[in-house]
Amino acid sequence: MALYGVLLLAGLAAPFVVYPVLMMKLLCFALFACAFNLLIGYTGLLSFGHAAFLGGAGYITGYVIQSLGATPEIGILLGTAFAALVGLVMGWLAIRRTGIYFTMITLALAQMLFFVWLQAPFTGGEDGLQGVPRGKLFGLLSLQDDVHLYYLVFAIFVFGFWLVRRVIHSPFGQVLQAIKENEPRAVSLGYDVNRFKLLAFVLSAALSGLAGSTKVLVMGFETLTDAQWTMSGTVVLMTLVGGMGTLLGPVVGAFVIMILENKMGEIGSGLASVTGIEWFNQLGESVTIVTGFIFVICVMAFRRGIVGEILVRLPKGKSSTG
């Protein structure tokens, strides 16, 4: 609990210390990762199609705000709803298979949506959906000011995080765990496991959507990057690095990966100047390679992720934060 308090304060103070826009972007991805983690961490379902929700919600929100002049909150609402809907359909199909099949199906369906976005007229293809205004919250409070927007984003993130936590510690969460542990037994206890999985999937999708919608507001545009399968991979990596099945893990993971992606160049040249090894200067141009290595290392040696590792080292009991 104390930890959460500290984090909350840190979050509130952040915009005066860190660059607000970067911070907002980080929060969006953190929320995205948390949503993803809700699925992998607590139902054991590995989705490789979560980009569909991030991107999809992004496009919808961007579109209704820009072309239909909706207010931000409406935009976000619609975006999230859309993601939930996509989640419902996608889940409904994918849940029919388990394990690796589930993964491949989500991947394939997301790819299908990617082509839809690519070809749809309003998304602007590779130009992207550009110039989405931040508008006025409830038609009143202008979000032009980064700090205003920041607190909105922060509030949204906190809400999302709280929701994930609640879901896990709810009667529903209990059943999810039971299903994860021994599915046939859960069936024989009279639970319709697929409906539980589906609900979990939809929740995860909706929250991912929320992240996507918020992100559009922050960045002011939506591009195919968010809907591409590589994005689905990125969120997996974030969760893996931070620690699957831990509450804070995804947040940490998201921060680490995002900072890597944005600052690889600096990091590289930094290392180069420190170590004097020229090669590091190329790091900036080899983000994918580095990401790949992180993936491999995590899978081989570091499966608990950062937070997971910390938790196992902590004395028992405190792990409630995990």
């Binding site: 590995l46 839809v116 080899s286 390679i289 790949g292 993936f295 499966r303």
Partner: protein, 294 residues
Amino acid sequence: MEFFGVPLAALPSQLLLGLVNGSFYAILSLGLAVIFGLLNVINFSHGAMFMLGAMLTWMGLQYAGAPYWVMIFVAPAIVGLFGILIERLLLRHLYKLDHLYGLLLTFGLVLIIEGVFRSIYGASGQSYSAPEALSGATDLGFMVLPNYRAWVVVASLVVCFATWFVIEKTKLGAYLRAGTENPRLVEAFGINVPVMVMLTYGFGVALAAFAGVLAAPVMQVTPLMGTNLIIVVFAVVVIGGMGSIMGAIVTGLALGVIEGLTRVIYPPGSATVVFVIMAIVLLVRPAGLFGKEK
């Protein structure tokens, strides 16, 4: 005389072209199926191995002057060895864990392999043209079929069915199938399973590489050529279901043809048709057309 707005005359040629693509799908999904069978790993890096096959073919000619006919054996061999290395050093340590880790690992490998090749050879691709013996085309009456495409179909069919025969009809195949279920026990019968697994992975990726070699003259040879393809192949695998080897082959070919037809009937849909079919199959037959899941 028309068929979904396709002049009937054009139909056979389009079917044939579909078959050509189908044979790529077939080999790739076959490789995936074989690997999945014994290792329970969905080899995400399959596309990268496909790319390696093609790149090696080009490099062979570029740096060693090795012609197509040499590389068609050498490239898969090299990739196979590379696969064996991966299995030894990495995959091997994941079998005890949830299968998902295998997928994640191979995904990481994709990023590395493609990234490395891209930073060395760039993304704009290399030129490679079909061997003399296969250049030119044959007039089949209803169409002019480039000889090379014909070769692709023949070669892949031969490879596919050879593989099918070994796995379904031989003792070795029985070991493979048994190992698929309970490797430890099979080992307890005195069969050297670790080596079997290693070779299987090697063989699986070699298949991918073989497809890559076949693709080199007809597709742009670039470090990224595998990525999009593999996702479609995943869909193919879901449609076919991992149940049977034959399933992988047949589905691969069939979907190639269907996709081909869509290119004529409704071109904008050709990118998504496979995924749509996947969705439909999931509705009516969740286990996939040839799937053997409870």
